[in-house]
């Protein structure tokens, strides 16, 4: 159960490894969730649901900065789910998250609360990937479409297409909305959801978000420290004049390890860190998640906020087993981020 008292823990847990989350959108998602949570949202296991129960995934599509600027009307999650229901001729019986990073953990809670539905204790990544189709749902053979997309000015778009064209079609629509939309997608039965989701992740965040709880609780498949060190340099691939910090993509971050082997660790980033090299040898890469945590604040350091002189701990979160299959690596591995290794 996520209720008024546990919502704070859940929200805190959702931030532990979330990169690229805009503060404004996260805060508004927390306040919005608190205002609709009422008696609470039941958290259920996918395999506890009646096997044919229609489950729908909820996600923000587009820019969290845009969400923070153009506020939701409030009915977006419910309208998106209702649109899918109309198309499918069936009522949704549960809501599930696409991923559980920052606002994207809270939006499914808001959807479930607004619709009076339970939230499935699972998500579709076990970490965060940038594309709608980069999910274990896709790996499990569930289509992201039909997909209903609702915009903040009352727009509603229903998308039916091959799943690998969703991203291409959704981007311009979202842009014309103003930068963000709320999607209800991956409609499926509880039975199939149970086979393809990353289970137990909602409860893990509830535990990991408790004050004093170890961060590792939020990493279901294990967590290791790559090194602790100081950022020695941040290099963008394109500069823009000498006096300008343009954290353009791709970029590299060089970290000098304290103590130990005193290695030089190089992080290659495309929006997020996708590859880590220690003294030239690859030591971690996507689909595992590589994360910089500030040792002074304990907060995730985004790639575009990394600066020389920052003290960081570099953590590697092992991806769910589904990501370590041949198909998983194709969808979420280095190549999916444009690194032909």
């Amino acid at each position: 159960m996520i209720d008024e008292t546990s919502l704070g823990r859940f929200a805190a847990g959702s931030r532990l490894f979330a990169t690229g989350a805009a503060e404004a959108s996260f805060e508004l998602a927390v306040d919005w969730a608190r205002s609709v949570i009422g008696g609470g949202v039941p958290v259920v296991q996918a395999d506890e649901l009646e096997p044919r129960t229609l489950c729908v995934a909820i996600t923000l599509v587009g820019s969290s900065t845009a969400l923070g600027e153009q506020l939701p009307a409030g009915d977006e999650p419910a309208r998106a789910v209702r649109a899918l229901e109309r198309r499918l001729g069936a009522r949704a019986g549960a809501v599930v998250a696409l991923n559980l990073a920052a606002e994207n953990a809270l939006l499914p809670v808001i959807a479930a609360a607004s619709l009076g539905l339970p939230l499935v204790d699972a998500d579709g990544t076990g970490r965060v990937f940038p594309l709608v189709e980069q999910t274990t749902y896709t790996l499990g053979g569930i289509s992201s479409t039909p997909l209903a997309l609702v915009g903040p000015s009352g727009e509603l778009v229903l998308l039916e297409t091959a799943p690998d064209r969703v991203e291409e079609l959704v981007r311009p629509v979202v842009l014309s909305f103003g930068g963000w939309g709320m999607a209800a997608c991956y409609p499926t039965s509880a039975e199939r959801l149970a086979e393809s989701c990353v289970p137990g992740t909602v409860r893990r965040l509830l535990e990991a978000g408790a004050p004093g709880a170890p961060r590792a609780l939020a990493a279901p498949y294990g967590l290791r420290t790559l090194c602790v060190g100081r950022i020695a340099g941040v290099e963008g691939s394109t500069g823009h004049g000498a006096d300008l910090a343009l954290p353009s993509l791709p970029s590299s971050i060089v970290v000098e390890e304290y103590g130990g082997l005193e290695r030089l660790v190089r992080l290659e980033a495309h929006n997020e860190v996708v590859l880590a090299l220690a003294d030239g040898a690859p030591v971690a890469m996507a689909p595992d998640q590589i994360c910089m945590i500030s040792t002074t604040t304990g907060v995730v350091v985004d790639v575009d906020k990394a600066e020389p002189g920052m003290d960081v701990e570099i953590l590697v979160l092992n991806a769910a087993p589904a990501w370590h299959t041949a198909r998983g690596r194709l969808l979420g591995g280095l190549r999916a981020f444009g690194v032909p290794l």
Binding site: V36, A66, E69, L71, A73, F177, G179, L244, A245
Partner: protein
């Protein structure tokens, strides 16, 4: 020579320290040495007043009584929990949402509902307004149009527009605008009283981060100086530590220091004692005299506390007043511009960067920099993720010297 002044608590407007500074060097702690009255300054103080060319004031505004604010948001409807002034204490003011605003991509959400603005402004019965439009970091047209209507409806209205704070995140920017509007009347009173105490001298106020702004800028944007004394104190302590060799650290301090914690901030008392020591040395007092407990005497609305005075409320620890006064006197005028821009290609980005830099330079001159001294201190460009077509967040900081 520049005078640095630390105010203890604006609600009682108490001066807790005045220091004299030239070229970054501490010449003396003026007010700590002897009682000083604005009408009949002591010979030492009168001399300083004659030689001073500017007064830099460090004040924290967290204890001032906020004025009720009429808040206008120009945007679409939203859940009640996300409305303006939601979660603010009772008595914070009135709020409304009117149709209008833009998306981050610059598209107009709706035509501005000018009739609704007029009705609200005329009926609010308040004179401090905060206006926040969706998308204003990209396009501020609707905020400017609302300001025009308010000015016509409410003579003498003080209007804060959120785009001048520039932060992305509508609610955060709106809270900034409301807070700024709420601080306005008290900030004006503080500026008036300081001006009476230091007649004829250009006045500057320390910003919450780096730098100063001129008095008229402080009256209009008091929020940028919200933690001016705290920021100045940190700067002053750091400067003192680097200029003057520190006394041998107490043993308890050594372990901390060896871990790289730095020599500046031990426990608050420790730091206070060290600074009192330094200040005392600088003006040739004994430490004992410098450590006299605060004794406040109101005079002319502008009280004065002796010695290294305490912060009035005492709630967040003590302010090392001479350090805050020193820190304020070390800073120069600073202003920044934050915007979201759309630029396709490098030439266009260069053009918008140039215009943002021009605006930052104009602002820092408006904040009191001598025109010849104004320069760009930093420029940051961040592409907004998941928004194609070259949307960037620009932050430009300009700084200068006091005239």
């Amino acid at each position: 020579m520049i005078l640095g002044v630390a105010l203890a608590q604006p609600a009682t407007t108490t001066v807790s320290a005045v220091v004299a500074v030239r070229d970054g060097a501490l010449l003396g702690v003026v007010s700590g040495a002897e009682p000083w009255e604005a009408r009949a300054p002591s010979p030492g103080m009168a001399d300083y007043l004659r030689r001073a060319r500017a007064v830099c004031v460090a004040v924290d505004l967290d204890t001032v009584r906020p004025a009720p604010v009429a808040a206008i948001r120009v945007a679409g409807s939203c859940p009640p929990a996300l409305r303006p002034l939601a979660g603010w204490p009772k008595g914070s003011g009135l709020a409304t949402i009117v149709r209008g605003g833009h998306t981050l991509t610059g598209r107009q959400l709706a035509r501005l509902d000018t009739a609704a603005v007029r009705r609200f402004a005329a009926g609010a019965g308040l004179t401090d307004f905060a206006v926040t439009a969706s998308g204003s970091p990209v396009l501020a047209d609707h905020e400017l149009a609302v300001a025009e209507i308010i000015a016509a409806e409410v003579p003498g209205a003080r209007i804060t527009l959120s785009y001048e704070f520039g932060r992305a995140g509508l609610r955060e920017r709106e809270d900034d605008a409301i807070m700024n509007a709420a601080l306005g009347p008290e900030a004006g009173r503080v500026a008036d009283e300081v001006a009476r105490a230091f007649p004829g001298l250009p006045l500057f106020f320390a910003r919450s981060g780096d730098g100063l702004v001129a008095s008229h800028y402080f009256r209009r944007y008091p929020l940028v100086c919200y933690a001016g004394a705290t920021a100045s104190e940190a700067r002053g302590l750091a400067a003192m530590a680097s200029l003057v060799p520190l006394p041998a650290p107490p043993e308890a301090d050594t372990a901390e220091r060896s871990q790289g914690a730095g020599p500046l901030r031990g426990p608050a008392e420790d730091a206070a004692a060290r600074v009192q020591g330094l200040v005392a040395d600088a003006v040739g007092w004994s430490r004992q005299e410098a450590g006299i407990a605060a004794e406040e005497r109101p005079l002319d609305g502008l009280g004065f506390a002796r010695g290294a005075a305490r912060r009035g409320d005492g709630a967040r620890g003590e302010l090392v007043a001479p350090a805050a006064a020193f820190g304020a006197a070390l800073a120069g005028p600073t202003a920044e511009v934050e915007r979201i821009v759309q630029a396709r290609g490098r030439a266009e980005l260069d053009r918008v960067l140039d215009s943002a830099r021009d605006e930052a330079l104009a602002r820092v001159v408006s904040a009191g920099a001598a025109p010849g001294s104004a320069r760009i201190a930093s420029t940051t460009v961040n592409p907004l993720s998941y928004l194609p077509d070259g949307l960037y967040r620009l932050r430009v900081t300009a700084e200068g010297a006091t005239p």
